[in-house]
Point group: C2
Amino acid sequence: MKFGENCIPQVSIDCVVFGFHAHQLKVLLLRVRSMEYYALPGGFVGQEEALDEAAQRVLQERTGLTELYLEQFYTFGQRNRGEIEMQQKLAEVNQLSSAEWLQKRFISVGYYALVDFSLVKATPDELSDSCDWYDINQLPLLMMDHHQMIQKALDTLRIMLEYKPIAFNLLPENFTIAELQRVYETILGKELIRTNFQRKILSLEILERIEKKYTGGAHKAPYVYRFKSTKKPHES
Amino acid sequence: MKFGENCIPQVSIDCVVFGFHAHQLKVLLLRVRSMEYYALPGGFVGQEEALDEAAQRVLQERTGLTELYLEQFYTFGQRNRGEIEMQQKLAEVNQLSSAEWLQKRFISVGYYALVDFSLVKATPDELSDSCDWYDINQLPLLMMDHHQMIQKALDTLRIMLEYKPIAFNLLPENFTIAELQRVYETILGKELIRTNFQRKILSLEILERIEKKYTGGAHKAPYVYRFKSTKKPHES
């Protein structure tokens, strides 16, 4: 779907894709072509397309994944969020014929996604030079209000962790409790007590134990778990 | 601000205004003129207006209150949420010249507000016959996806109660702990243990005790509290 073609005017979506790797919480960012800014993966909403469908489409294009855990978290609609000058330059640089359409203030619906880092094939869009992961604590210069979007997504994720066992979506299919605990600790930005965490997670009865991880010392090998459902808890 | 005049096309806002009265959680609804439906207070967003400002403006018009506790909670963007036929009829009945503008699918940003029931002067808009309170457990027939909006607002409110002491906004300035507990119980739909509730609320150190409520039997009179801040916690 191209700019302006049968899209809802002045509405966009932006996606904060969270991944977990090397003890870091990461987000997927695009380097905007010929500009100094980075941007969240985003796009527009077709007249015949649901907001959720638009977000899924954008994320499939950027990650190669068709079924990912996705939640709408906030809609950004400040008066000054347009940065019309930047939008003009973006249109010029990329010789967009639909420049007029783009040079308006947009309201943007924010989604966050939790993905298995190892499965993502990061793919830039037609206005970007690159698409890559960045540590959430070392973000490059972001366009418009995208930094605020990431912060709001993280705030929401921290709250929602208490209500839904969604952190599994950041891990491969099989994982140890210690790996899961590291994900929680990284998102929450604090250490958790191992025995309490293990008791709490297991009491939810959402994990099944499948095997011991081979570590060379069998008596110390941790158990490996997976989420009980055959599907990840997209709909939980 | 009238339909279509310098508004962002295909974007609306809808507000779930919660009030508390006679042990009931209530929402403010409009009876749509010449139709069988009720609707949430809503409106459109000016080109030069922030989403939050639009919500404040709509709520001031419907409630007479200028400073109320307001939170954006979800943006509704299903493909079929338009009910174009109903919108056509609404335009016809009200002889709206901007009918064409109205006959498109809209994306609606949902806000919920928590208000002191006793201060609200419920005022219908130009397309409605009445504006009144309804028990959330006995709602009339609602237009479009407004029933879903109320449910989503309630779900969010229940989660947010754990994080922010926002329930005070539903009470008059001065209240007893028992009154506050009834608000929590009504929203959460379950009974809470009195001593635990009192300990938890007081441990937050956000209330100040101002006097005893006169009940005729002084030794049993409960203490009256108010929120410590001079302003209600709109920004907490």
